[in-house]
């Protein structure tokens, strides 16, 4: 019985028509493609994107120029100088150079930072038209979102 049935299924092409119906169903399914430059998939929560510096609530830099990141960086990305202002108990960074083209996103600087000043952001688009923007200076370490993209390649957002 089952032998005749399987023969008939093959002979009458029933299996093939079933397969065709399945693909027809998928033809009308929703598509998973994300059209990249126009729509961007938000990165996951713990995504290790570009490094950036943060400020505290008063707008002062969290960075105290302790150079812990500079010491631990395996690829020697940082070049930091700091100064102590009159009567202050902490230091302010006067120079904070970060070389993106050397960074391997290992995250050691984030781990070692005593004030949580340097953290991974979720920015991952780092296309630039020249190598200039790949060297971050102190003010540029605070850029986010659109401003960061404008800094990279003149604001075409691609």
């Amino acid at each position: 019985m089952s032998k005749t049935r399987s023969f008939l299924r093959k002979f009458l092409l029933i299996d093939i028509f079933q397969g065709l119906l399945i693909t027809l169903k998928y033809y009308f399914s929703s598509k998973v493609t994300i059209q990249y430059p126009e729509e961007v998939q938000p990165p996951p929560e713990r995504f290790k994107g570009l490094l950036r510096l943060y400020r505290d609530e008063a707008g002062e830099p969290l960075c105290i120029a302790c150079k812990a990141c500079q010491r631990i960086c395996p690829t020697d990305c940082f070049d930091i100088e700091g100064e102590r202002r009159e009567g202050a108990r902490r230091m302010w960074p006067t120079r904070f150079n970060w070389k993106l083209d050397r960074c391997t996103s290992c995250g050691l600087c984030v781990e070692v930072c005593p004030t949580d000043a340097i953290r991974h952001s979720d920015a991952f688009r780092m296309t630039s038209l020249s190598r200039g923007p790949l060297l971050f200076h102190h003010p540029e370490m605070y850029l986010t979102g659109e401003e960061l993209q404008k800094y990279f390649c003149g604001g075409c957002l691609r």
Binding site: T23, Y26, V32
Partner: protein, 344 residues
């Protein structure tokens, strides 16, 4: 020479020849785009949608890229056969379109415009023969490349051509038996006078012809000569630039040709549905070649649909399918059809 004779003897034939080259090319462009989009949709992707409206210019852009690519000939290759085989494939599938009618004859004033370049009383044989010549291009190209993957592709092509040509011949025989002609125009006219299209009258013939036609065009699931997961790219592995494009275009042209043949032989060519029923006579207002294009596009769509659905046949499974099933089946089909015709 008067203006009228100039028009009828020179300009119209030249226009027809240009049309018969342009028509398959446009169909190829549409077909490459359609295939990529449809397969992408079935696989849950979007497919090319950037170049031109919804990606319709993508095949043109690809062809332009191939046009500027370097034309590489291997040092060990047989240069003559290597160079001639893409042209052989392209030429044979384009030449076959001369004998394929694209629609019914128009009467403009006193002049009858036939929508075919050459009408031959043996049109069907010519088309089948020319589409078989294209296989020689594949075999020559695979052999002349002097490389193992193309050679394997060529060998597979030889076996494939031996497998599918016989069922095709036997199924075409049933159609010819009813229409009493191997003129493609006559076959369509016969379906107009007859009550029913051959595809519904001879379903076994149609299905065997269609499956063999897929094998003839080297399409999935019978794309053994160019099985990219096994043979890199099969017979055209060593080709680059415009010669590769010729193989590529010829494959799609061949698909259009086989779809045209299926439509002409089994689904009434340019006839609208129910050509004789008075109730559906309004369908005659749509010109014949529009009906014809709709039917061809349907079968081309089915080509793509099948490709997106079925996995590739194994080499021996194809031979087994053709020789142990299609040949006896189409033979039995022919005898049953003949017996029924004379008994009833």
């Amino acid at each position: 020479m008067t203006a009228q004779t100039l028009l009828f003897e020179l300009l119209i034939p030249v226009a027809k020849i240009i049309a018969v080259i342009l028509y398959p090319m446009i169909m190829v462009i549409v077909m490459i785009w359609l295939e990529r989009r449809v397969v992408a949709w079935i696989q849950g992707r979007v497919g090319p949608n950037r170049v031109g409206f919804q990606g319709i210019l993508q095949p043109t852009a690809d062809a332009l890229k191939l046009f500027f690519k370097e034309d590489i000939i291997q040092r060990e290759a047989d240069a003559f056969l290597f160079n001639i085989s893409p042209h052989l494939v392209m030429f044979s599938s384009l030449l076959a379109f001369c004998f394929v009618p694209l629609g019914e004859s128009f009467r403009i004033g006193g002049y009858t415009l036939n929508l075919w370049v050459a009408s031959s009383p043996v049109g069907l044989l010519l088309v089948l023969g020319l589409s078989a010549v294209g296989v020689f291009g594949i075999i020559f190209g695979g052999w002349a490349s002097n490389s193992k993957y193309p050679l394997m592709g060529a060998l597979r092509s030889v076996v494939q051509v031996l497998s599918y040509e016989i069922p095709i011949g036997l199924t075409v025989l049933t159609v010819v038996f009813f229409s009493r002609s191997i003129d493609l125009v006559e076959i369509v006219n016969h379906q107009q006078h007859g009550k029913i299209w051959f595809g519904f009258m001879l379903p076994v013939s149609f299905i065997v012809f269609w499956i063999s036609g897929i094998a003839e065009t080297n399409r999935a699931p019978f794309d053994l000569p160019e099985a990219e997961s096994e043979l890199v790219a099969g017979y055209h592995t060593e080709y680059s630039g415009m010669k590769f494009a010729y193989f590529y275009i010829a494959e799609y042209t061949h698909m259009v040709l086989v779809s045209s043949l299926v439509v002409i032989l089994f689904f009434g060519g340019w006839l609208p549905p129910f050509p004789n029923a008075r109730f559906f006579s309004f369908l005659h207002w749509i010109p014949g070649f529009v009906w014809y294009l709709i039917k061809i596009m349907f079968f081309l769509y089915v080509y793509v649909w099948i490709r997106a659905t079925l996995p590739r046949y194994r080499f021996d499974a194809l031979i087994k399918l053709a020789w142990k099933w299609f040949v006896p089946l189409s033979m039995a089909n022919f005898f049953v059809v003949v017996a029924l015709k004379y008994l009833l």
